[in-house]
Symmetry: C2
Subunit: 169 residues, 2 copies
């Protein structure tokens, strides 16, 4: 990038870091996916359930938007969660077209257990790091979460009615 030997510019470092974060994200998720079997819930389902649990009852469209997925995809995910007894689908009293998706107590319970199991491997690896490295990753997670939400200038209000940032898993 730019002159070899010259100290890299800010933009060069950004591009390089973007590539490496991209790679890291791919491999991190591939590793964590191995733990899915234990909970019986795949990553997309677990992620959607997480939004439902923490984001309160919400519509399918809002859920799809929060998960950055098209409505038909979310329809299928919700159907699977409903079939598993983890969420319910009720008519929205204020809008006959919309539905309200709500987590059951079983869903809340399973989320906790499943997510814990899923991240346990990573947590164990992180716990083995020296404290300052862990702090670096803590801050990195914050920064990465912030990247997605700062697309619009200004303080940006509620961002779709979902509590946001709550969503983990």
């Amino acid at each position: 990038m730019s002159e070899p030997g010259a100290s890299p510019t800010h933009d060069d470092r950004a591009a390089n870091t973007a590539t490496r974060l991209h790679s890291a994200a791919i491999h991190l998720l591939r590793r964590l996916r191995r733990e899915d079997d234990a909970s019986g819930l795949s990553a997309p389902r677990l992620s959607a359930l997480s939004v439902i649990v923490f984001g309160g009852p919400l519509s399918l469209g809002a859920l799809a938007a929060a998960e950055q997925v098209r409505p038909p995809t979310m329809t299928r995910l919700v159907a699977a969660l409903e079939a598993a007894g983890l969420v319910t689908r009720e008519a929205d009293p204020g809008d006959g077209r919309a539905i309200l998706i709500r987590a059951t107590s079983a869903g809340q319970r399973l989320l906790q257990e499943g997510r814990d199991r899923r991240t346990a491997v990573l947590a164990r690896q992180l716990a083995a790091l020296p404290p300052d490295d862990l702090a670096t990753l803590e801050r990195a997670a914050e920064l990465l979460a912030g990247l997605g939400t700062t697309t619009s200038p200004g303080p940006s209000p509620t961002r779709g009615g979902v509590t946001c940032q709550q969503r983990s898993s």
Copy 2:
């Protein structure tokens, strides 16, 4: 976690950070996937091509291991890359069972362009960060890449013949 109000333990912070990194990785990749169409190459193909380009000619098994994927999955990915003229498959002169996968010049070119495009969005966001935040993420990417390779105790030898750590994108 642990006592509310008490300062969190190292393990608590590790668990918390694991959850947030997990979430960040999911959403980061979902955002970047949107850029796939431009290069015509999906994330798994781009990632595999990257290993081939930077990891030199290597066997299918080594490639599958590097990508943390089963051999049949890699067979299909390589077939797609070969059909697109991005890699070649030649017989290994030293082992009649194995094959050597090598990137074509078209593959090298496309990797560069495709990966740049794919990470451009992220790179732009990163470039907008203050230098010390960018440094934090640089270090985080290093740490995350290191997590996957330190599973076995001891210095761990060649790990499958791949240069390792070379793999970017």
